[in-house]
Amino acid sequence: METMKDEDGTILKFLDTMDNYLILFDSLSSTLRQGWLDLASARHSMGSSRISTALLNLKEHSASTVVRVNDETINETSGMEPHFTLRKWRTCEDKTNPIEEEEDVQGLLKQPSLNLRHRGFSETKEASNEPLVSVDDQVQKERSKALSVFGALVSPKLRSAQISFETVLETLIDIANARSVMLSTFEQLQQMKEQSN
């Protein structure tokens, strides 16, 4: 009886994570579409000569955003550890102390075994046209610096496109972590099934 309860809980958890995964994909698709349209809108407003691949900087420079891959083991008591983390807008001078804190996806992915997610309530970032709620000045400066390849005075539509693509990067990391959790939950299920057989 106890075993059946555990198995049911794990199945529900798997279905929850799969639901989360599919919602993230929808969110990614709509945010990307918005980003590309904003970019086209900026090109319409500023002109094709100002928004062009010919202006992208070929000088050597370090990446402003990196993905860190953690090989964490599964912890039965505290839940799953995320495998991927995103460090955005790292400065060249301070690579060990990123300007923006790591995305806290642990709160998102830690789920007690019987805690059901309700459809319609998303803990992830939905596709949104609004700027991020709290923005550090330094992050704003890094954003402006990244856009300066197109000129110092750019259209608000280009800034909006940048925010959309930044949201897309975050969503991709969420998708990677969701997939990781989904696959490990599926493995647990398979183990349980083998043990019960």
Partner: protein, 351 residues
């Protein structure tokens, strides 16, 4: 003051005015745009354009088509028409026609300088330049390290030379200096064009003054909105505004202090000419500002054709064609991205 242009204009300018009025009648209509907005693919767009004057320019393009190809071929048509008119124009019409292209020349100079700063290949940059703004020594721009060299090596022999006096420094070129250079050059160009049109007198001076004043005001608003949240200080922003226009000088003083779009709205709503633009937008909605300005510009450009015996029709025609190309670019992007519901966000009907 009008000076009997009816008696003398047709001697030198009558043929070309007839030509440009003929070209005007080939601009796309609302029915054409409605057909284009319903296209499913870029090949459909090409098929619809084949029955227009763009047909001969697009017919040999292979599938799959790209938005950039459509824009490039449509621009080529405009350039061909312009060059045919220029080669048949006499003074002062030829100078007037050349003035129309200086804005593209400035854009090309800035493109080459910015691209070189980013270590791009010069040939790749030359392909992206606007054909109306090309000049002989443009490729030599890549060797300049600062504005003084830019002027001394290349631009001293171009029509842009007189505009450089206000921005010559020995500072190395960087993104902010280049942006200030762009806007300073454009400001000087607009003021020079305005003075030239005033010197022509008659209907040309009257109509072009209104059109250039609107252009100067629109530039001031765009500079203000684009500089919100950037490092550009108020004094530098104020220096980039032109010294003429409906907003000069009191509107400029208010715009220089604006920190968000609502303050810009507050500054402009005092001017009846621009009240109607902001009336179309609800509070907090700045996305439609560009479209509102383009619609107002198209309205003013179309009105120039109601009068004869002046050069403003040439300026209006070039600007209307550029608006048409922008419309086609936007429609093509929406079709290519499968976002047809957004196609009417930025299309401005001319007729």
């Amino acid at each position: 003051m009008y000076g009997f242009e009816m008696m003398t204009f047709n001697v030198q300018g009558g043929f070309l005015e007839a030509i440009v009025r003929g070209h005007r009648s080939s601009l796309l209509t609302a029915a054409d745009y409605n057909n284009l907005c319903q296209c499913e693919t870029l090949d459909d767009v090409k098929m619809h354009l084949s029955s227009t004057e763009y047909g001969s320019y697009l017919q040999n393009e292979p599938s799959p088509l790209h938005t950039a190809t459509i824009v490039e071929k449509c621009t080529l048509k405009l350039v061909d028409e312009y060059k045919k008119m220029l080669c048949q124009a006499t003074e002062p019409m030829s100078t007037f026609l050349e003035y129309i292209t200086y804005s593209h020349m400035i854009d090309n100079v800035v493109l080459i300088v910015t691209g070189t700063l980013h270590e791009r290949d010069v040939h790749e940059l030359l392909e992206k330049c606007h054909p109306l703004g090309m000049f002989d020594s443009i490729a030599t721009l890549a060797v300049a390290q600062n504005m003084r060299e830019l002027y001394r090596l290349v631009l001293v022999d171009t029509p842009l030379a007189p505009y450089f006096s206000e921005c010559i420094t020995s500072e190395d070129l960087d993104d902010m200096n280049i942006e200030i250079m762009r806007n300073t050059l454009y400001k000087a160009y607009l003021e020079d064009f305005y003075k030239f049109c005033q010197s022509l007198g008659g209907a040309t001076a009257e109509i072009m003054s209104d059109l250039l004043a609107f252009e100067a005001d629109r530039r001031a608003v765009n500079i203000t909105i684009n500089s919100i949240g950037t490092e550009l200080i108020r004094d530098d922003r104020r220096r980039l505004y032109s010294n003429f226009g409906l907003l000069y000088p009191y509107g400029h003083e208010e715009l220089a202090l604006c920190e968000d779009v609502e303050q810009v709205r507050g500054a402009l709503e005092k001017y009846p000419g621009y009240q109607s633009i902001f009336a179309k937008m609800s509070y907090g909605e700045s996305q439609l500002l560009d479209k509102a300005f383009y619609e107002e510009e198209v309205k003013r450009l179309c009105l120039t054709f109601e009068q004869q015996f002046h050069y403003a029709v040439f300026f209006s025609y070039i600007r209307l064609r550029e608006q048409e190309i922008r419309n086609l670019m936007w429609i093509s992007e929406c079709v290519a991205q499968n976002q047809k519901s957004r196609v009417h966000d930025s299309v401005v009907f001319i007729f």
